[in-house]
């Protein structure tokens, strides 16, 4: 048995991938083309706001146009995971609309699989009551109030949702939140391949040509047999070797040999990586241990207020020496103003670049240079309040007296006018938990609908 699959690139966005790499990959007659369109890497904003991180609609549509036309012409199923960044219902709808619009413009007829991953407040609350929700990593226990305060909650699907959509005839699948591995593991699982090898292959190609050099968004062809798998970039200018392939398992993961997935744990500690030629690597020895209980990750984001920011530079050496006192004075004055305005909940964070702005308390060498940059971030209940608080902070910073002060005309340099500005609603990750399910499809809704673009 041999199964070939094509990974487009690490992240579907408006920058796309070289079309020639897709064409070359399709010439190998892959069983499917996969692409991951989502990430939590950009932070909680996209799940919270429902926005798409990846460029403009115009740019993303251009990428989908190339993808859809080529995959449908070659009669190769296209699997898209974690649509439009966060994979919530609004992201899936956005992508489905875009795909339908393209079908009309290009006259394409096909069956579209749609996977919905968003969870209702009631469903999550019931799962908590049933003892099926446990904290992931350092998260606290989940309570109903946190669920109710979250803007959106998604569950991260395993490969079964794609299998279901394909079984029901889908040519193209747009999935809400799902594991990156699920996209590439579904077809091998459906065809009965070794789960260790299939999972390891999926893990290896989930970021496309990130396993190849030179690095950059591009396509990877994977070939799976019963004994091993190989990976090859479809762009002839890219190469892989055992080191580039093995070291990808370090990327954005806590542990390079143990990967927890909904169906169980991939163990790569006994895997071996061998060069087939200067562009292809063969991998074998991967193991998979099925978990006793099937679990999916829950992700939620909640609104925490409106965000405003200010930037400032300080060059005066006496002010830099007494900077912490100066900042404390400005903070105290801001807190008093908040009291006068009856604002009881706000946050004010100041980073001192040039000293410890990046590392904070963990900076081993917190020595200021001859100038420092300040970045001030305030989050409060509304834009007007944030504006008031930042005005107080920056004004106090500018005018406060301190021992030995010579800079009596102003303590800081502001690079913008106004010196502070509103940004946008602010969100934080509120849910990062594990949900135990009886059936892998339970938390998800899978539908397959005809798209008749030529009609």
């Amino acid at each position: 048995m041999t199964l070939r699959c094509l990974s487009l690139n690490g992240l579907m966005h408006g920058n796309g991938f070289p079309t020639e790499s897709l064409v070359r990959g399709l010439a190998h007659d892959p069983a499917f083309v996969g692409v991951d369109a989502g990430s939590t890497d950009g932070g909680p904003h996209f799940l919270g706001s429902g926005e798409n991180m990846h460029s403009s609609r115009r740019a993303v549509k251009g990428v989908y146009r190339v993808l859809l036309t080529h995959c449908l012409a070659a009669d190769v199923p296209l699997l898209v995971g974690s649509a439009a960044t966060a994979g919530a219902d609004t992201h899936v709808e956005w992508t489905v609309d875009l795909v339908a619009e393209l079908a009309r413009e290009e006259g394409l007829d096909f069956d579209l699989g749609v996977v919905w991953s968003e969870q209702s407040t009631d469903a999550v609350r019931d799962a908590i009551d049933a003892g099926r929700v446990t904290p992931l990593d350092e998260s606290p226990e989940l309570d109903a109030a946190t669920v109710e305060s979250s803007e959106r909650v998604v569950a991260m699907a395993g490969p079964e949702v794609f299998v279901e959509a394909l079984d029901r005839g889908a040519d193209v699948v747009v999935a809400g939140r799902c594991s990156d591995v699920a996209i590439y593991k579904a077809v091998p699982l459906r065809e009965g391949y070794h789960e260790g090898l299939a999972t390891h292959l999926a893990k290896t190609i989930e970021c496309g040509a990130l396993i190849a050099e030179p690095r950059g968004g591009d396509c990877i062809l994977g070939t799976l047999t019963d004994e091993s798998f190989t990976v090859t970039p479809t762009n002839p200018e890219k190469r892989t070797d055992p080191l580039t392939v093995a070291s990808h398992l370090l990327y954005e993961t806590a542990d390079p040999t143990r990967f927890v997935e909904p169906r169980g744990v991939l163990d790569t500690s006994a895997a071996s990586y061998d060069a087939v030629d200067d562009r292809t690597v063969r991998v074998s020895g991967s193991r998979f241990t099925r978990a006793e209980n099937y679990t999916v990750k829950l992700e939620g984001a909640r609104w925490v207020g409106h965000r405003g920011v200010a930037a400032a530079g300080i060059r005066d050496p006496t002010a830099i020496r007494q900077l912490d006192d100066l900042l404390a004075t400005a903070r105290t004055k801001t807190e008093r103003k908040a009291e006068r305005l009856d604002v009881d909940a706000f946050s004010l964070d100041v980073r001192v670049y040039g000293r410890d702005g990046v590392m904070g308390e963990r900076e081993p060498t917190p020595d200021p240079g001859h100038e420092v940059g300040l970045f001030v971030e305030a989050v409060g209940p509304d834009a007007e309040t944030v504006d008031d608080l930042l005005e107080e902070f920056t004004y106090t910073l500018f005018v406060s007296d301190f021992p030995g002060r010579q800079t009596t005309a102003g303590n800081a340099a502001f690079p913008t006018s106004p010196a502070h500005a509103p940004v946008s609603p602010a969100y934080e990750f509120s849910i990062w938990h594990r949900l135990e399910v009886d059936d892998p499809l339970d938390p998800f809704r899978v539908e397959v609908r005809p798209v008749e673009g030529s009609g």
Binding site: T40, D41, G42, G43, P44, H45, L136, D137, E138, S139, P242, L243, A246, S247, L249, L250, Y251, E252, T253, A254, D255, P256, T257, A271, S272, Y273, V304, G305, R307, S347, D349, R351, G357, V358, M359, G360, E361, R362, E363, P364, E377, V379, A426, Y427, E428, F429, W432
Partner: protein
């Protein structure tokens, strides 16, 4: 020599929203082996450089990738108010200065 002068890649990134992970990669086995055998890179070293309790640091020697890896809790949940490093991409720098008792990058 400084670890930063010996390694080919020293990088950090989020591993989920609660952890940051730091990877130190080498291109040749000899340098990887020399650093490993010098035993100056460990959970304890990482804990010391970041001011963390040693039990908070998970440390891995990953031979297939000629790499070392350390994973530890973030100060803030990624991307929330107060988090200065959304992607966790600049948390590696304190390891660059770790002194490794080898003479050259090509032992």
């Amino acid at each position: 020599m400084r670890l930063g002068d010996l390694a080919d890649v020293v990088r950090s990134k989020n591993a989920g929203v609660h952890y940051v992970t730091v990877d130190v990669l080498f291109h040749d086995y000899a340098t990887f082996e020399a650093v490993r055998d010098a035993e100056v890179l460990s959970a304890a070293t990482v804990a010391d450089r970041y001011g963390l309790p040693v039990e908070d640091v998970r440390f891995f020697v990953y031979e297939p990738g000629l790499a070392f890896k350390a994973t530890f809790p973030r100060e803030h949940v990624a991307g929330g108010p107060g988090d200065p490093d959304l992607y966790g991409a600049q948390q590696h720098a304190p390891l660059l200065a770790v002194e490794v008792p080898v003479d050259t990058a090509d032992p």
